[in-house]
């Protein structure tokens, strides 16, 4: 075993934790309501990802700076209220994507302020041991990972369910409108997350075999 190598790879990969290795939706099972309900079209999932990034990064930064001065049980109150204000302030950012996207997202915009990614990350970074830089990096990586997962799911669901991509019709032999319903969201998240796990394990096994060749 070459632990030195593994340690180095871990240290290097730490920056991208949220994107691949610990993808918030596909690996950690956070923020599932968005992954299930919002991913019916690419447009709405991109706009919700933008809103999440805009609210997650400032809130986690706030948590890492102020969190240690708040009592533990009270801190979520501060974070969620702050995140709600940020989300509401950022809504004009997504309006250029499409004017009615905010209406079609409905309750899922305000719910962003209580999503589990935010609460988990804030709880992780409110201890004084962690530096704010790492908090920023993690917040950005988790937002990116969330956006990636959402776009991946939305790609399949919009293509199969509505027969279009980003609102542009794609000629397909058939379309299954049921794929736009919530149950297909659950199934899509489950299948993709199983795929990600399979790939992760395959990569692990591959690298292990490469560094530890079988004795003849």
């Amino acid at each position: 075993m070459k632990l030195e190598k593994l340690k180095r790879a871990r240290r290097r990969g730490r920056w991208f934790d949220g994107i691949f290795g610990r993808n918030p939706v596909l690996c950690c099972g956070l923020a599932l309501p968005f992954a299930v309900m919002v991913t019916t079209s690419l447009r709405s999932s991109v706009s919700i990802s933008i809103l999440l990034a805009c609210s997650l990064i400032p809130t986690v930064l706030l948590a890492s700076l102020v969190g240690r001065f708040l009592p533990r049980w009270f801190s979520p109150v501060v974070y969620t209220l702050f995140a709600m204000v940020v989300v509401v302030a950022c809504v004009p950012l997504i309006l250029p994507i499409s004017p009615e996207v905010a209406d079609s997202l409905g309750i899922y915009v305000p719910i962003l302020s209580v999503n589990t990614i935010l609460l988990t990350l804030c709880a992780r970074y409110e201890r004084p041991a962690d530096r704010p830089v790492m908090a920023l990096v993690d917040a950005a990586a988790y937002s990116l990972g969330f956006a990636l997962a959402m776009c991946l799911i939305a790609f399949f669901r919009e293509l199969l369910g509505a027969g279009s991509l980003w609102g542009v019709p794609v000629p397909l032999p058939f379309k299954a409108e049921g794929v736009q319903i919530a149950f297909a969201g659950f199934i899509a998240v489950a299948l993709l997350s199983a795929l990600v796990r399979f790939l992760r394990r395959a990569a692990l096994v591959f690298s292990y075999r490469r560094h530890n060749p079988k004795p003849e």
Binding site: C28, G29, L30, A31, L32, P33, A35, V36, M37, W73, F74, P76, V77, T80, L81, M84, V85, V87, V88, V91, A102, G106, I107, V109, P110, I111, S113, V114, N115, T116, L119, E177, I181, A182, F183, A184, G185, F186, I187, V189, A190, L191, S193, A194, L195, R197, F198, R201
Partner: protein, 202 residues
């Protein structure tokens, strides 16, 4: 009598037809879906139901006031209702925490671990906002909140039952844990959508 039947019908509809977990995925994350002991699920569900009902009862008059004064358009803020609702939820959570800590330590002890998770779960805020967007009256809003909390608890119990059964079978390695539970929820959601039809009632 009329009020009671209205309350019960909307509660039943919220618990089954618009089940928070199975039809909207609200409040489902790894921590809640993988919750182990039924006692803990009951405690979590009770806290969640209580917070939802009380904050719905608090937020409804506030929402009414905002709408009558048309503050949202006057101030140019779009999601004023959501902000006030979240403030209500926060206030209820704070009060619950402080009151139980001061006077009911026996309730406070099991609550301490889960109260924050329950209060800031999507199910609480989402349920109240759905009720508001439906334009329900006071009784209907509170009934919807109550039924949704009950339905959420029942859904978590059912998911736990499914997990116990799935633990006995030979699930492929990639699917073990969260993915198979999501598939389970997805198939149950498929069955419930057979009851609803094609569209969620709004």
């Amino acid at each position: 009598m009329n009020v009671l039947s209205e309350f019960l019908i909307i509660a039943l509809s919220a618990a089954v037809l618009q089940n928070a977990v199975f039809t909207r995925g609200l409040g489902s994350s790894r921590d809640t879906l993988m919750m182990g002991a039924p006692r803990r699920i009951f405690a979590f569900g009770a806290a969640l139901t209580f917070i939802t009902v009380v904050s719905a009862a608090l937020a409804w008059p506030l929402n009414r006031l905002l709408r009558e004064q048309q503050l949202s358009t006057r101030l140019g803020i779009r999601y004023l209702t959501s902000i006030s609702t979240l403030a209500c939820v926060c206030a209820v959570f704070t009060l619950l925490y402080l009151v139980t800590r001061a006077w009911f330590p026996r309730i406070h002890y099991p609550l301490r671990r889960d109260a924050a998770n329950a209060a800031f779960s999507c199910a609480v805020l989402g349920t109240i906002l759905i009720a508001f967007s439906g334009g329900y009256g006071f009784v209907k809003t509170v009934g919807f909140a109550f039924g949704s909390g009950i339905g959420y608890t029942a859904a978590l119990l059912l998911v736990r039952e499914g997990r116990r059964r799935i633990a006995l079978s030979d699930v492929p390695r990639a699917f073990r844990g969260l993915p198979i539970m999501l598939l389970y929820i997805g198939i149950l959601s498929l069955a419930i959508y057979g009851l609803i039809g094609h569209q969620l009632p709004t």
